[in-house]
């Protein structure tokens, strides 16, 4: 796609793996390539994902000079035992140092990724991690529940009972604590797992939930263009080889049916705490107000002005609520 056809980019997210391992020269080339081919909107959000210990002052200065205006730091925890359990190569000291460096470089818009539900994690250690995070005053915090993925070393530890997941009630308490505690410091809970100070919501992620288009490049990246959702092949060598042979390196692509589009509208919309616009849903032919009658009575969703949204009780069982809503809507 050329500049005139690709439209204007509102956000760029460089993530997946550890992009900060790229040399300054590589970053330079990447951005030259991007600017040659796309128009950037004036308020474009450009995020680079980084792991503590992989960035220093000069790297940060270099990417800032290229236009990067947001950093997302995979801290996960400020407890060294938990980091070990997760198999991370950094410790909490690395995290503190990296954030200090980011601040010195003058980057205010940075996000900290945290994780709860780690084996061995206690309520106290989570409280500690989250308060340490807040004291570093990030613009944005993501708090994800640890979800063991099959075929990972961690999964194997679980299967062989070398570690065990914390109790469900404890995980729930951790999640609720994050919402309440962060609210006290002005962080708005704007999406199931994301919190931001005013004006610092992640534009790139919101685009996913709003069903905006995006182009994914690199092995395993996903795209959404027109009605097509596609995913690139995951194996990096095969990805490079196919590109060199002039083949589009996709492993999957689906043209959404109208029913799938409506389903997406519901489940992506409900990820945002503001919920789904009722007037917008009526335009698509969905009567979500009627369909949510029982769920409203059960206190799982609520209507606030033009929006249908999950309640605090509903948000933690969002999959179950969404499936019920699908049923009621005949989707």
């Amino acid at each position: 796609m050329k500049k005139d056809t690709a439209g204007t980019l509102r956000s760029i997210y460089i993530g997946g793996g550890t992009p900060t391992l790229l040399s300054d020269k590589c970053f330079g080339e990447l951005f030259r390539c991007l600017k040659d081919n796309y128009n950037f909107s004036s308020d474009i959000e450009i995020t680079v994902e980084a792991n503590p210990g992989t960035i220093d002052g000069s790297k940060i200065d270099a990417i800032i000079s290229l236009g990067v205006n947001r950093l997302s730091l995979g801290v996960q925890s400020f407890n060294d035992n938990e980091l070990k359990t997760l198999g991370r190569s950094h410790d909490s000291e690395d995290a503190f140092r990296s954030i200090e460096t980011i601040k010195i470089a003058g980057m205010k818009n940075f996000s900290i990724d945290l994780m709860y539900g780690i084996p061995g994690q206690t309520m106290d250690s989570w409280r500690d991690t989250i308060s340490k995070a807040v004291r570093l005053s990030p613009a944005h915090i993501s708090a994800y529940e640890l979800t063991p993925e099959e075929h990972t070393p961690f999964f194997k530890l679980l299967e062989t009972h070398k570690v065990s997941m914390p109790d469900e009630e404890l995980i729930l308490e951790m999640y609720n604590h994050a919402i309440d505690y962060l609210a006290g410091f002005g962080y708005e809970h704007y999406e199931i797992s994301n919190f931001a100070l005013p004006e610092f919501k992640c534009i790139h992620n919101l685009n996913y939930w709003d069903r905006g288009e995006y182009i994914g490049t690199g092995a395993g990246a996903h795209s959404f263009i027109g009605k097509m959702r596609s995913g690139n092949i995951k194996d990096i060598n095969a990805y490079i080889e196919q590109l060199n042979n002039g083949i589009i390196p996709e492993s999957e692509s689906t043209k959404l049916t109208s029913e799938e589009t409506l389903k997406e509208f519901i489940f992506l919309g409900l990820r945002k705490t503001e919920g789904i616009s009722i007037s917008k849903s009526q335009q698509t032919g969905l009567n979500i107000v009627d369909a949510s009658g029982t769920l409203i009575n059960e206190g799982l969703v609520e209507i606030v002005e033009d929006f249908l949204r999950l309640t605090r009780k509903g948000i933690v069982i969002s999959n179950t609520v969404i499936v019920k809503l699908f049923e009621k809507l005949g989707l």
Binding site: L172, H222, R229, G231, E260, N319, I322, V323
Partner: protein, 604 residues
């Protein structure tokens, strides 16, 4: 005008015989060899095992319905013989049908696998044949197998059944060995049928089925008199009269003949609309000149095992009814009537001859009619004398009255054959199932025959599977109904969130009720998925709660992130969750999976 194939017959030249065998001892293969040898079918026409024509029969290696085939055999003595092979179902569930088939014969081939020896079914069917005074020709089959031991098998037959085996035929149906010897033995050892063409018609019905074009086709053995198109006939048990449209034989293709006379086996078509009108074991006679007495042995057989069948999705109710109706057209031993369950909605209470019969019907409903079914646990029929002394039969445990005078349950006499190494655990199993030992005999040097009186209810659960697993597959079992007996039985109710789920009620022996209640609650706890509300499971006898379990409310789903905009993965996950819900049955606010209704079967 129908063209008849010319053929010669005198009763002297007719032989009527059955083949009796334990499952897998080679009955169908042997029948195929006989058809092939006599030229009834060329080898090109043979599909393997012609007699088992239903797919399910082939898959399970059993014969569900009886069949009859006419073979023409030119014997060593220079004469041509008509041999009527009447095939019999090979499972205890169909023992009445077997008995009617045997009653239509003068002799039987008793097939015993030389590598397996005598099994419970061999014995049960051989006894039946002896009761009908049949000439039994022992055939020791599969002698080609390395593990074959014909001498030991010969000894077992003599000891267990008490028939002379000195002239038993050694055969390998697979390799075609012994086929001629068998045919000669049929001609020389089985007596020709007796009977008189000039007597009033007396024909025994041993099978019938429905054909879309011709109506009901009745398979008969003529004992006296003759029958031809145009004759007015009467069914003696029901009293209904019909006019014969066609008579004929199976060669194995259906072939009309001018008449069927005494001694012969064939079919009658007489404009009969329903198989329920042609009861197996009934006698057909002339309407104008009836026989004085019907053929002996007629019984109106009643289903022994019942279960509720419900469509998983309620809109399939009509389809289920149509399907049941169609199956019943060809199987009068299976009955159904509409039933309503608070938990399951509209469905049918269905009665079967036994567990295998039940499984076959269920499988055919799902396979041939593409229905998704939910079935309740099978139950036997209880005989209950109410306080007003009225006697009722209870086919659904939830219908057991709160108070009654007497409750009786069906008992069977089970005959088990087992190698002696496994006898200990088998006796323990029978004991556990409330069995009373009636007989214990060594058969040969390594095998034991034990007989137990057992409540039918107890062998419905997991008895057969456990018998097989305890004995590494070597034990075999057969049983016969011996009557109703009073037992100390109670109704066990299951309550979910305080409400009785009628489809989960069961009748159990009092001594086992606490254990069953606890185990069943525990199983249900494992089976019922977590829901938005806590599910309290209680087991109760009368008003007394004897067990309590709970499925904690679903408090959270996994709040996974959408990795790098992979929305499709998330959508598929939600769709999968929704698919899972489809298979659930809604019970008030609760959703119950199909397995919940069969949980009771998992309780030992």
């Amino acid at each position: 005008m129908i063209k008849y194939k010319a053929y010669m017959k005198t009763p002297k030249n007719i032989r009527n015989f059955s083949i009796i065998a334990h499952i897998d001892h080679g009955k169908s293969t042997l029948a195929d060899r006989l058809l092939e040898y006599t030229g009834a079918l060329s080898s090109r026409e043979m599909t393997e095992q012609v007699l088992d024509s239903m797919d399910l029969e082939k898959e399970r290696g059993i014969t569900i319905k009886a069949h009859a085939v006419r073979l023409t055999y030119n014997a060593e003595d220079g004469n041509s013989y008509i041999l009527n092979l009447i095939d019999t179902p090979g499972h205890v569930d169909f023992s009445y049908e077997v008995s009617r088939s045997l009653a239509s014969c003068e002799g039987a081939l008793l097939i015993v696998d030389a590598s397996q020896g005598v099994e419970a079914q061999t014995l049960a069917n051989a006894y039946l044949a002896t009761e009908h005074n049949l000439e039994i020709i022992p055939v020791i089959n599969k002698i080609d197998l390395p593990a074959a031991s014909p001498e030991e098998t010969r000894k077992q037959i003599e000891e267990a059944i008490g028939i002379d085996c000195s002239d038993a035929i050694l055969a390998s149906a697979k390799e075609g060995r012994g086929t001629k010897e068998i045919l000669e033995a049929i001609v020389n050892r089985i007596p020709a049928p007796k009977g008189d063409d000039s007597n009033p018609l007396k024909a025994l019905i041993f099978d019938s089925w429905f054909d879309n074009y011709q109506g009901v086709i009745v398979l008969v053995r003529i004992f006296d008199g003759k029958v031809m198109a145009g004759k007015k006939i009467k069914l003696m048990a029901t009293g209904d009269s019909f006019e014969v449209a066609q008579v004929g034989i199976f060669s194995p293709k259906m072939e009309p003949v001018p008449e069927l006379v005494s001694g012969e086996v064939g079919y009658i078509i007489a404009g009969i609309k329903m198989v329920t009108d042609t009861k197996i074991g009934d006698t057909i006679t002339g309407a104008d000149e009836p026989a004085k007495e019907p053929c002996p042995g007629y019984k109106d057989i009643k289903p022994m095992v019942f279960c509720g069948l419900y469509p998983t999705q309620s809109h399939q109710y009509e389809n289920l009814r149509d399907a049941l109706n169609k199956l019943r057209l060809n199987d009068s031993s299976f009955i159904y009537e509409p039933e309503t369950s608070l938990a399951l909605g509209f469905g049918f209470r269905c009665g079967f001859l036994g567990l295998l019969h039940m499984e076959i019907i269920k499988e055919r409903l799902e396979r041939e009619f593409d229905l998704a079914l939910l079935s309740t646990a099978p139950t036997v029929v209880y005989r209950v004398t109410k306080t007003d002394m009225e006697v009722v039969h209870i086919e659904n445990p939830s219908r057991l009255p709160e108070t009654y005078e007497i409750i009786e349950e069906p008992f069977v006499l089970a005959t088990i054959f087992v190698p002696k190494d496994f006898i200990g655990p088998i006796l323990d199993l029978c004991q556990e199932k409330r069995g009373v030992q009636r007989n214990f005999t060594y058969i040969g040097k390594d095998r034991i025959k034990v007989e137990y009186e057992l409540p039918l209810n107890e062998i419905l659960w997991d008895f057969y599977d456990r018998l097989k697993s305890i004995s590494k597959g070597y034990a075999s079992m057969d049983y016969e109904f011996i009557g109703y007996r009073e037992s100390d039985l109670v109704k066990l109710n299951i309550l979910l969130n305080g409400e009785v789920v009628d489809a989960l009620s069961l009748i159990v022996h009092k001594d086992k009720s606490y254990y069953k209640g606890r185990e069943l609650s525990e199983k249900l706890r494992q089976i019922i998925p977590r829901q938005m509300y806590e599910v309290v499971i209680q087991a109760a006898i009368g008003n007394k709660i004897i067990a309590r379990e709970s499925v904690k409310a679903l408090r959270k789903d996994v709040l996974a992130k959408c990795y790098g905009g992979d929305i499709t993965r998330k959508r598929k996950l939600l769709e999968k969750q929704k698919e899972g819900k489809k298979r659930m049955k809604q019970f008030g606010k609760l959703e119950l999976p199909q397995e919940a209704f069969l949980a009771v079967l998992k309780v030992k």
